[in-house]
Symmetry: C2
Subunit: 202 residues, 2 copies
């Protein structure tokens, strides 16, 4: 691409650094910004900077927070009997969106992945073990991705938590609601057959 302006080129370079955004899309975004009022572009830029300067992480569960303790950990409406272990705060938002969970969370900050150079010490695992031994929840729920990395992390966490005598569970894996059988991959289908649940009409 040949630019007639260094300023435009730099903005395109910056935006095309985002995952999934190439230079053509970045150019479209820049052209959009050029047509917006200066105040709007300014407040967007400010909100991005604040992500690095003002954002904190909850001292208890590790999710993003504007305070030292997040709104979920400090809420009187949440039960401390359950701790749900998740990879990142976006998973917390997804789970909150279901409205099915009233316990607390623990954000690992990633999954064990030797291929990407992520080991157990890079994640918030020690703090989880400490939390479980101190707060003594009734149940620890693993809500991790159904990938090799998720399974590896679950296995490692399971070994770490076993001595603490806490009930450990893992969210169900099986066919999606609304999924048509003929289009489901064989591994998922086979596993959902093995882990079938009792069906009652009542």
């Amino acid at each position: 691409m040949q630019f007639t302006s260094q300023i435009v080129e730099k903005a395109v370079d910056a935006l095309s650094g985002f995952p999934g955004i190439g230079r053509r899309t970045a150019l479209r975004l820049v052209m959009y910004l050029m047509k917006r009022p200066e105040s709007e572009v300014g407040s967007m830029a400010e909100s991005l900077i604040k992500l690095k300067t003002e954002l904190q992480f909850c001292n208890k569960c590790g999710t993003v927070s504007d305070n030292k303790i997040c709104g979920i950990c400090s809420s009187p409406n949440r039960t401390e009997k359950q701790i749900c272990v998740i990879e990142d705060f976006s998973d917390l938002m997804a789970l909150e969106g279901t409205g099915q969970y009233k316990g607390l969370y623990h954000v690992l900050g990633g999954l064990i992945s030797p291929m990407d150079g992520v080991g157990p010490n890079d994640l918030n695992i020690e703090s989880l073990v400490q939390r479980v031994s101190e707060e003594k929840p009734e149940e620890v729920i693993f809500a991790l991705s159904a990938t090799v990395e998720g399974d590896t992390t679950m296995y490692y966490l399971g070994k770490k938590l076993e001595p603490l005598n806490v009930k450990i569970s893992c969210i169900a894996r099986g066919i999606s609601i609304g999924g048509e059988l003929e289009y489901i991959d064989e591994i998922t289908l086979g596993r959902s057959l093995l882990q079938r649940t009792t069906y009652t009409t009542s």
Copy 2:
């Protein structure tokens, strides 16, 4: 989406204002930014602000520029005999990418579109008429989109430029290079049949 941080929510709101970027994608971009160094996020924010505060438009052709006259208009290697009329500076970049054009440009800043409330007075049309009558180029080339808006704009410009006795041309419309005949829409195919060109083997 339920956010545990206002700062994250505001950043997601800001980024999801971009065309084609929903809240889920915006969240992914925010999570990417959170993992980048503060200096990188800062320089990205700065480059966006500069789009509104420092960017100029060439006084002659209207494209984005860091100076009062852009690099193309001030270049001694470009011929002043041709003026290519385009919608926006991204079209200029596309045309420069072909390496087939050595003339000057004129950026309209949009197309006539009554549906969107864009009339001739909202575009750089008067400056084009003035330029043609003063600079007396040999040819004005319309390189506008093959849409209703593009055709409307070409018709209007054609009427405006007719009295100035300048040769007016329009970039060729037809089947794309590499296009297979059976997949080409009927209107394009019909038109490319009507506007067929002489074929020689030499």
